[in-house]
């Protein structure tokens, strides 16, 4: 299929203004299909704004931003893009499965009860919450409720999954499991993932990286190429190298 030739996301001169502040300043980048792309940068660098622009939740976006061949926020994308916000967006006064049942109907209102049931079981297994399916979200730990939020995004088998800091506050074992899940989704289901994080060591787990700082793109490359180019051992060092280089250049 030639759709795999075109990137999942293509941004040209992408700019976002919030109030009087330019949060994203003329970004150009692409996100390839079927891979895990990391959006790395310190907090306040514009990661969440970029993600909100991608899912069509951000106002005052200029420049071009195409997602799966449509302008970002196009109604045609609403059941093809899964979105996980930074804080868990699930109903705290419902159980995990009640949340999933509701969102499954919203995503695909015409699906049969059995189809929805199967999708819910699969999502629960994916995020390893089967044992907590009947617990109220308000009773779950922080990590468990953010996995419940992730499960909602997995429901419709989205082609593009956009995750805003999904691993914050998780213990190392869970974090490793989630990254395994991300790669499994990319390898087995061909899902494109864009995962933001401010923890630089997570960059090593990505196929590609977008390094963001103060609303500007520092790099758009694979972790290996980035380290080779900057002659550093870790992505964190590469990031610092690029920041210094940008500072001397200006």
């Amino acid at each position: 299929m030639n759709s795999h030739a075109s990137p999942a996301v293509r941004a040209a001169a992408l700019t976002v203004v919030r109030g009087s502040r330019t949060v994203l300043d003329s970004l150009d980048f692409t996100v390839p299909r079927g891979q895990v792309t990391g959006l790395l940068g310190p907090s306040g660098s514009g990661k969440s704004t970029l993600i909100r622009a991608l899912v069509g939740a951000q106002a005052k976006v200029s420049g071009a931003l195409d997602v799966l061949g449509h302008p970002a926020g196009d109604p045609a994308l609403r059941d093809r893009v899964g979105y996980v916000t930074q804080s868990p967006s699930v109903y705290r006064d419902l159980t995990v499965s009640q949340n999933l049942e509701y969102f499954a109907t919203v995503i695909d209102a015409r699906a049969s009860r059995a189809t929805r049931r199967a999708a819910i079981t699969k999502a629960l297994t994916d995020v390893d919450l089967t044992d907590h399916a009947d617990d109220l979200v308000s009773r779950l730990s922080g990590g468990q409720s953010s996995r419940a939020s992730l499960a909602v995004a997995l429901l419709g088998n989205p082609e593009l999954l956009v995750l805003d800091e999904p691993t914050v506050g998780l213990d190392p074992v869970l974090r490793r499991d989630l990254w395994k899940l991300f790669h499994r989704l990319a390898d087995e289901r061909g899902t494109t993932l864009l995962v933001s994080s401010h923890v630089m060591d997570e960059a090593e787990r990505c196929d590609r990286l977008l390094l963001l700082r103060e609303g500007r793109l520092l790099a758009d490359d694979t972790p290996d190429a980035l380290r080779a180019e900057t002659q550093t051992k870790t992505v964190e060092e590469a990031f610092l190298h690029l920041v210094d280089k940008a500072a001397t250049a200006s």
């Binding site: 106002a59 059941d79 916000t85 109903y91 419902l94 049942e101 509701y102 919203v106 209102a109 109220l136």
Partner: protein
């Protein structure tokens, strides 16, 4: 518009409430207790209860549904679930009507209990049918839901949302004819009273309690209440934005 998404939303809202039995109990019991108190307070002069009772039967559902809806939709906005729903194939009308249906059902129960108590136990004398009273009460509840939904867009916190109750509903309560008959108000206040929907809600209840048949004024009141509810719902829908700053 998909009836599935609409019904799923109502179902979800009711499920949320079911996990909060204290709220349900308050919604249903507080109006009953207040009406009983009022009956008791005017025990020596029952004609006052006969005058005020029907008006309160119309006002309680509006106030309660206003509060519950404004907090519920504010939570939806602040918890990120609204942003998530707006990124999904959810139409605004499905969401809003889903809420209206869920709270409308609760209003039927609430108004049913309050009307039943007033007519059967507190001997509220009505010239018209108690079913009409019930019908207007439910319509008032929907108006309360619509107003609550609308003001939640202007509240940044639950503190602010609660303050909208005295700001939006108390002036209407003062001018609806409950304290001074609307005919005796100063021209300016009477004009103001004429454009506030609660005045018509109270008038509709009075029409039912004082007339055996359905009057022309009653039809006018119904039209105004339903029209205001619809108008505010449309305004409320406009405050649900897919893109936010």
């Amino acid at each position: 518009m998909s009836p599935h998404r609409l019904l799923a939303t109502s179902h979800r809202v009711l499920r949320q409430l079911r996990h909060d039995p204290r709220t349900i109990a308050m919604m249903l019991i507080v109006p009953i207790v207040l009406l009983t108190l009022l009956y008791w307070a005017f025990h020596a002069t029952p004609e006052i209860f006969t005058n005020v009772g029907p008006a309160l039967l119309g006002i309680f559902p509006m106030i309660v549904m206003f509060l519950v809806t404004s907090i519920a939709t504010l939570r939806e906005r602040t918890s990120g679930t609204l942003e998530r729903l707006m990124s999904m194939p959810m139409q605004k009308a499905e969401l809003i009507l889903g809420y209206a249906l869920a709270f409308g059902l609760l209003a039927v129960i609430q108004a049913g209990l309050a009307t039943g108590l007033s007519v059967l136990l507190l001997h509220l004398t009505l010239a018209g049918s108690p079913w009409l009273l019930l019908f207007v009460a439910v319509l008032n509840a929907l108006l309360g839901t619509a107003l609550g939904l609308f003001v939640s867009a202007f509240a940044a916190s639950e503190f602010q949302a609660v303050q909208f109750m005295p700001a939006v509903l108390l002036p209407q309560l003062l001018l609806c004819g409950l304290f001074i008959p609307r005919g005796q108000m100063q021209t300016l206040l009477a004009d103001l009273s004429n454009v506030l929907p609660m005045s018509y809600a109270v008038d509709a209840m009075t029409q039912v309690s004082t007339h055996t048949g359905i009057t022309g004024d009653f039809w006018r009141d119904l039209a105004v209440i339903a029209g205001s509810a619809l108008l505010v719902l449309v305004l409320g829908a406009a405050t649900l934005r897919r893109r936010t700053p």
